[in-house]
Point group: C2
Chain length 376, copies 2
């Protein structure tokens, strides 16, 4: 199989991720922070080491990293935990349903309203598009680091500066960027960063996190046992306990730590360049095919995640993907849970076929893909 669906989840996982998963299922599957016996304490230390790895990568305090089931859960906790009745939210025009459905739900329930700021290939214009939507009650800007459909990235540093100037909390959905594009939350004034563990960070499915700046306080949407302050009927005020109720996915979290080790060993920049080289190759190959429509400029360093979307003739995107599946090539077609992005790039009628190579994808695989498209 030629796997070009790394935007859904990265596959394969690095060998050290698999070995660490198995090791942690055997040796770190104890309730950390609840038991005083040796293996429970060791498990807590191991989990904490992953908080440190994430904290170091994105510039957060380790204890401010809270683990979740996935990036969607993290975004729900970040957005709903931030909003008070009467607030106004600004999101980008390329948001995933993990953001769009959340703010839509808040608006439908009369809790907050939202507006959508258009992406522009001109970074300053993108920032202005956000800024001009600010109202007196705007409390939150939520923006994806890069579109999960078209790869284009947002100027996080500039948006963060603007948000800070207005005293507005800034949440970033780093679903397609965390692990491949460098993100410094301090530098970009990001108040809360949400990310999956199983995409560019190479951990297992069932992992995600939100990382929160020191001065950010969140209301909880999930309450429950934390093994701390048990007599207090409120969630503890401090992190990560406040945001981590119930038993964690230990082996998943530890696999995510191994994924970060893998990235450091390879070099994030090396991985990013390899994937951009492949998207470049794919883009050039596709752009020579007169039957193919591409929707954005080719992915470029620091301007895009390594993701391309295309369509063939007037085929429904699913038809093209189905043909590729018959060629043993795995891609995702349709709307990629991002209707806003499809509206913005005029692909809302049939969606797109998405290509996401990884560090494990070779140029030869991409060549085979291009040959299959030629034969379509």
């Amino acid at each position: 199989m030629i796997y070009l669906d790394n935007g859904a989840t990265s596959y394969p996982k690095p060998p050290n991720v698999l070995s660490s998963s198995m090791n942690s299922l055997k040796n770190y599957s104890f309730n950390s922070g609840r038991g005083g016996y040796s293996v429970s304490v060791k498990t807590a230390e191991k989990i904490y080491s992953v908080r440190e790895k994430i904290g170091n990568m994105f510039h957060f305090e380790p204890q401010n990293v809270a683990f979740t089931l996935n990036c969607t859960m993290a975004l729900n906790m970040a957005i709903k935990g931030s909003v008070k009745k009467g607030n106004h939210i600004i999101i980008s025009s390329l948001e995933h349903n993990a953001v769009y459905r959340v703010v839509y739900h808040l608006q439908k329930n009369g809790i907050a309203t939202f507006d959508i700021a258009d992406f522009s290939f001109d970074e300053e214009e993108t920032v202005r598009n956000f800024e001009k939507l600010i109202k007196p009650n705007t409390s939150l800007i939520v923006c994806t680091a890069a579109s999960n459909v078209f790869g284009v990235a947002f100027p996080l540093k500039k948006i963060g500066e603007m948000a800070k100037k207005h005293g507005i909390r800034f949440i970033v959905d780093a679903a397609q960027a965390a692990g491949v594009m460098p993100i410094d939350a301090e530098d970009c004034n990001i108040d809360i960063l949400c990310a999956p563990g199983h995409k560019c960070l190479f951990g297992n499915m069932g992992t995600g996190f939100l990382a929160v700046k020191n001065d950010v306080f969140l209301d909880t949407i999930i309450d429950g046992g934390t093994g701390s302050e048990s007599k207090n009927p409120n969630q503890p005020d401090y992190l990560p306990d406040r945001l981590e109720a119930g038993t964690l996915n230990n082996s998943g979290i530890i696999s995510l730590g191994a994924g970060i080790d893998f990235i450091h060993a390879k070099g994030m920049d090396t991985i990013y360049k390899h994937e951009l080289m492949l998207t470049d190759y794919l883009y050039n190959g596709l752009s020579k095919n007169e039957n193919v429509t591409l929707y954005c400029p080719k992915p470029e360093k620091n301007k895009s995640a390594p993701i391309i979307s295309f369509n063939y003739k007037d085929y429904p995107s699913e038809k093209t993907a189905s043909y590729l599946a018959d060629c043993n090539i795995a891609v995702r077609a349709g709307f990629h849970c991002a209707p806003l992005a499809h509206e913005f790039f005029n692909t809302i009628d049939r969606g797109t076929v998405r290509l996401c190579p990884s560090v494990f994808t070779s140029a030869g695989m991409c060549e085979k893909f291009l040959n299959c498209i030629k034969k379509l």
Copy 2:
């Protein structure tokens, strides 16, 4: 190590759970329901087979089983998704913070109020204790199947009958019962059953589920991509999509399926009897020690989960557990995230030491534990 903390998470996991975890990390780590390629479709089928196993075990439709990070997340989704402004909730006096903190949060935010129904060793009295708290605006009864501290079980069938008579939704927290005590949701009129996958069901940590009756509609607390109805800004109305936003913990879910296979191969009744035999042995041994305080009658079939709590002299429970940790015996001490239960059984000053054997615990291990206590 002698592990008597299976109430936190079961350890070890059965061999087929470990092998299935590794197999699924390699072969089923694809986004089910989003991709049309062969391994994605096979993954979706594998995930569905676990819904069927859970559905069969507890008497729900397979598609009404939604997977979560843990039982806490499931309970939050069940309770918060059920409650409308002005509703009244009744919970039991032995609830875990995964229920207590949830209803407390709802009350603090002016959404719902709650009252607490006392447990009684007389089943009819327990039911009356719930019934007499019913108000015109009572919409929900939430009850644990068995106390996570003291093991005592609630008469679910009788409470369910009473709830049905009054047209009140009935949610059961089966954290310590699912997989070891038989629960038939149809027979007990349970509208929503919440359970962890990693305790008596022998799956990995990072797994839980809520199973929902056909006529039960829940508002969502987590919104996001479902790979279905992507253009709809609302969560789909149908299950499981409505309650499963974002990427699932595939290997965890599949491990949970393997855990259920293990239970069927051993026989749930055999497992339950083995664990009760051990709690009987532990209880008898401890009750002969004049320095030990026990708080409940010994666990009895269909009246209790295989869990015992005790204290030694006037020691803080943590001191006893720490001594046991030095003997390489793993138990949990303190409040077990269940302050209500400690208030009820008058252990709120120092908590308890909790003993939870599993099918992998032997009588010899329990004997060693009793010998250690003798030497204390």
